[in-house]
Amino acid sequence: MDDLLSEFVAETREMLDALESEIVAWEQAPEDKARLDAIFRFVHTVKGNCGFFDLPRLAKLSHAAESALAEVRAGRRQPDTALVDAVLAVIDRIVAMVDVLEAGEDYPEGGDDALMAALEPSNDDGGEAAALRAQSATSGQASSTNRDGPRSIRLPVELLDRVMSGVSDMVLARNELARRLREYGVEPTIDGPFERLSAVLDDVRDGVTRMRMQRIEHLFNAFPRLVRDLSAELGKQVLIDVEGGEVELDREMVEMIRDPLTHIIRNAVDHGFETPAERIAASKREIGLLHISARQSGNRILIAISDDGRGIDTGRLADKAVASKVASPAEIAAMSETEKLALIFEPGISTAAAVTSISGRGVGMDVVRANIERVGGSIDVTSTPGKGTRILLSLPLTLSIIPALTIECCGQRYAIPRSYIEEIIHSRSGSAQLAQIGDAWLATIRGERIRCLTLAAVFGIDRQSSPKGATLILVRLAGGDFFALAVDRVLDHEELVIKPLAPAVMATGIYAGTSLLDDGSPVLMLDMAGIARKHDLISDVQRRVRRELPGLAQIASAEEGVPVLLFTGLDNRRRAVRLDVVNRVDKVEPTAVTLTDDGARIVLEDKVFPLAGVNRGAVPESRFPILRLSDGKGELAYAVQAIADSARIDGDISPAARAGEIEGIALVGGTPVEVLDCHWLFAREMRGSAALQPATCRFDGDDPWLDTILRPLAESAGYRVVSDDAQHADVVITTDSTASEAEGPDNRIRIVSDPDIAGQVAGTIYRYDRAGLLAALAQARMGRVA
């Protein structure tokens, strides 16, 4: 039987048990107001609950009883014995029906009309009602004797919590005992029983954890009603579509996300959807669609709430942010669309133009985000103007037990949730190369450059600490971003019972909770998302997330068309580029750009790339975003002013009149945008450039440093290293031991091992002056191209 239905049955029974004595008492004294109220409440609740299920007979019966009793309560009718009998007959029938319902059968047809007729005031034949009652009661009895099916009891959640924390403590005590047993090496006769105890305890813990799980339906089921009431009040038409109600979640978690979800839905109905007239004007269906879906992914639950309303007006958000001094106009100007969208989570910002009774009362999305993050979740919002908004919540499965990895840093132990850990790499193993860029470290892992933080620096214990020789933990954030965290040592995998931390500790933004280890000492759980946020490692465009979540219905998912990324070019024109060629989006400093006669170049993570898009406008003066486009082999960068969003092209692309940067014009969300011709871009930018034919580099001399240390650097800068002296090389690198100044200095880079000499003798570079070396290599290659 359906979970919810069984809950309905259980609840109805529970109320009936409580009502039993009231019914008898009411029969004796029909004028008793308190008793009347109790019975009225019962039929009223049954009627309300029936609305959720398809139980028209129960609903009808309880409605009839409710109306009759309402008359009595209003003093318009006297509670005579006929009425009492009729009401009691209805209650008996409800009992009988509920019993049959639980058994999963259908109640025999007929008889309802007679019962309802007995409730009518015109009916003064008390005897008939009484007879009906007797009949109904006997049939009820008959059905209750063959009552079977799964038996269930209702328990207070506090009791479950107590059992849960007791079991958690037992696990800790078991672990401590296990450690002592290992230490003292007791007799094998103890080992057997201990193992058994341990296994049983694990079973019990599993059971208790499951006991706390609840289907998310329990939460979702209230939403259709909420949406109906809200949309009626606001004069809007909204259809709600709920999916994934069978996903199970910790009871406590269900409670914790109830308010945030309700708030998001209120917001969507109030601000997200247009009125039917506005929707028709915007050539949309007049009925808005609100889609709510839940899905389990590993040990996270993903809940998406998407609407096809008007989307979030980032311009107005930005104005509000300026008005409420959350951000300065200059900061706003530098923000991408996504960053502006993220303003919605800032305190004191609400998009509502007017404060309504539904939303916009000051508690805003900042509170929602705080509540979601408090339970270890994250929230993301994406919006397309005119098309709709999607809010994605990612939540842990349970509040309490988290699989974790314990690590050591600066002599202390810390825990990291295992869900964040992609890989553990020993920096000495050679699978990760580390390089220092300014004060930051970069790790190159299988060709990908990843920001590397040292935990000691995160803690502020040693800001200059180097990740060299440390163990790197490759962390994957919910948004799909990666970073590497250097720690001293990885200790163990453990299942930790996470408890909340005091506010003063939470305020650091580094920790998510605490737990007790086997030996009873506390360990801090690191908040990976918090650390990444603190160090600005979360990228603006969450493209990867969207790609990996095809199960979650997107607003545009039902539509056909080529997926594109919308952006604003440096010339302020709206353009689109096929999403498939966009490798990633980066933000760069204007100083990384070099303008040459042959076009612009940009230095990204030690490599020189062609930079397109700058011929249409000046290079911005502050950090600006670039699109990194890839054709599978080569890569080029495209400078833009701001990233808007991803979208799909409606229909075909109408080709441009002549070949050029623009492939043609396409419609995105009804407005025309220019689509970049990636083939043309690559064909132009790669022509004769280093990417087409790698430049060659020869090391002059047999200093092993050249081959072991310098070679990877030269290769990463786009050079092919040749060893044959006779072969032509675009650049020759010599060390001071083989100095021969007679040769032409134009293609020669001299490297010295003494920084003082590098400073005094022109044309020499200190061997560890990485930036200088890269610049020289880039310049030499540029010279070859020109």
């Binding site: 958690s168 403590d169 800790l172 005590a173 600066c410 202390q412 995160v458 803690f459 502020g460 214990i461 408890k499 909340p500 931390l501 005091a502 506010p503 003063a504 500790v505 305020a507 650091t508 580094i510 920790y511 605490t514 737990s515 007790l516 009873g520 000492s521 506390p522 360990v523 801090l524």
Partner: protein, 145 residues
């Protein structure tokens, strides 16, 4: 007056906590430091299967030097257990008067945490509010907000 007080010493001064606010008195032997936390948070310690946030009372009262003693007063605030480190826990005594306002300045940290002065068998003592100590110095609260 029959209110019971726990008498302790913080930075050489005798103070009192309402006994009702105090869960227990413990000795902190092993501290797990919390890097990045405000200075008045000494670290975490375990009490049975619960984690205690250990607060240096002297630093929370904006005093210069740290508390040296091992003893700490365990108090619960907002669902979290805290251990307030004090120089020494002295005695339990009955309050002989209602808390009275003290004229003149006590120093900002003391003023924030003090509920007033009470008479006890051991003489006048400053009655402190554990919740105010747990909140820490005013500037760190602002930083947290």
């Amino acid at each position: 007056m029959s209110e019971l007080l726990l008498l302790a010493r913080i930075a050489g001064r005798r103070v009192a906590f309402p006994a009702l606010d105090v869960n227990s008195v413990v000795e902190i032997d092993a501290l797990t430091p919390v890097p990045g936390a405000p200075a008045f948070v000494s670290g975490l310690a375990a009490l049975r299967s619960r984690a205690l946030t250990v607060i240096d009372s002297a630093k929370a009262l904006e005093l210069e030097q740290a508390t040296t003693g091992l003893e700490a007063i365990v108090a619960e605030h907002d669902g979290h257990l805290y251990a307030l480190q004090v120089e020494a826990v002295e005695d339990v005594a009955e309050a002989l008067s209602e808390p009275q306002e003290v004229r003149g300045s006590l120093g900002s940290g003391w003023e924030r945490a003090a509920r007033g002065m009470v008479e006890s068998a051991a003489g006048p003592v400053l009655l402190l509010d554990a919740a105010a100590i747990v909140a820490g110095p005013a500037h760190s609260v602002q930083r947290a907000a």
